[in-house]
Symmetry: C2
Subunit: 232 residues, 2 copies
């Protein structure tokens, strides 16, 4: 039974549970020698488009954003993107590999009866495919998509989805993200951000430091145990 002091754990998906650059090998087969470069530009443009479309009040879903950012990245690198290549790359995005420790950590957390959720920019269909391909269907209480509010993170309406759906106040949510800006946004909203700094990036200068920084998800169960003991 979860105690009164237990926290819900809400995960970002892309980059946090699933490796957005695991598609690089598919890219590499299509565009030899350009896998890493295209993967990085695709990802950074994808994020930029989520920001711009939310700011400009021109929401389209994450599938459309991912497809248009792929087109931009190929244009910028002067790589030809025919319909077959586009299809294969987009398909790869629904089959991203979890990180090595993801499944074990989720299973450990699941045993503790805590509420576990995903809160992601991904469209519902994309998230469903990701979770199914990784055989994680039974691990999450809820898989929440920004699509429900037609805005992208770090708009407060997206983080608010988690509180509303899980029935937990913001300060009882540990929000786990590998994206520094997402951890900062979660902190602005009132969550406890746990930043998985997989790539050794500098801290974002956004006046919202994470409560905890780690390099993988491995220490998360212990962090939660300590947190709850200290407040139990």
């Amino acid at each position: 039974m979860p105690s009164a002091s237990s926290y819900a754990v809400v995960f970002d998906a892309y980059g946090t549970l699933f490796d957005v650059h695991s598609a690089a090998s598919t890219i590499e087969r299509l565009f030899p020698g350009r896998g890493t470069q295209l993967s990085q530009l695709w990802r950074s443009k994808q994020l930029e488009y989520t920001f711009l479309r939310t700011l400009g009040e021109r929401y389209v879903d994450f599938w459309a954003v991912t497809e248009s950012s792929l087109q931009y990245a190929c244009d910028a690198l002067m790589l030809p993107l025919d319909p077959g290549a586009r299809h294969r790359l987009m398909q790869a995005y629904t089959e991203l590999a979890p990180f090595a420790e993801t499944l074990e950590v989720l299973m450990t957390l699941r045993e503790s009866q805590r509420q576990l959720a995903i809160l992601s920019n991904g469209s519902p269909a994309m998230l469903q495919a990701l979770v199914a391909n990784a055989h994680m269907e039974n691990l999450f209480t809820r898989v929440l998509s920004a699509d429900a509010v037609q805005q992208y993170k770090p708009a407060p309406a997206v983080y608010e989805l988690a509180c509303r759906t899980l029935g937990v106040p913001a300060q009882r949510i540990v929000f786990v993200s590998a994206n520094g800006w997402d951890a900062a946004g979660a902190g602005w909203y009132g969550f406890r951000p746990y930043w998985v700094n997989r790539q050794g990036m500098p801290i974002e200068r956004l006046d919202s430091p994470p409560r905890k920084t780690a390099t993988t998800l491995k220490g998360l169960p212990e962090y939660l145990d300590h947190l709850e003991m200290s407040q139990g």
Copy 2:
């Protein structure tokens, strides 16, 4: 006298009228061999922080954003930023050079009695310093800062400032920007975007193509003449 068919011309400042990378020589003196790299990372982080802070409803002015993005960029490149260096780099940002053709184009447009304005993310003090250093005080009807609405572009409230202040409907505003995302945002809002694609970038895949694309400002007076003749 402006005719009934005349358009107001609203300019983005950074990258459009003024060269954000003209500070690279100051950077190069402080950090030999790193001028270009730091200048580019500083700029891209500065933009990202304007997006994130607007989305997260955590506005701070463009001076603060510029300073924190400089700190991040130095952290990322492992360059030590002491208070003296910080001061000199921030100072350089208030003294950015206009592009080679900027002054002449503005003077030509000014002769036609059109309303000319700047609409920029820059703080009022930063914009005042930029314009004064370039001796452009008498060329603009208004110098408008996003600070008035405490949001950054492409939030509609920022573009709306221009309509409200100049008393001109959106469709009578030619909006000139070298930033593809800003041109797209202006198009979303209803302006006529004139994209100065100085760096030969691919078009942004945001479903908002510019009305006109050029490589410098030089053709702008002729574009306006044609536009007004065709509708006059």
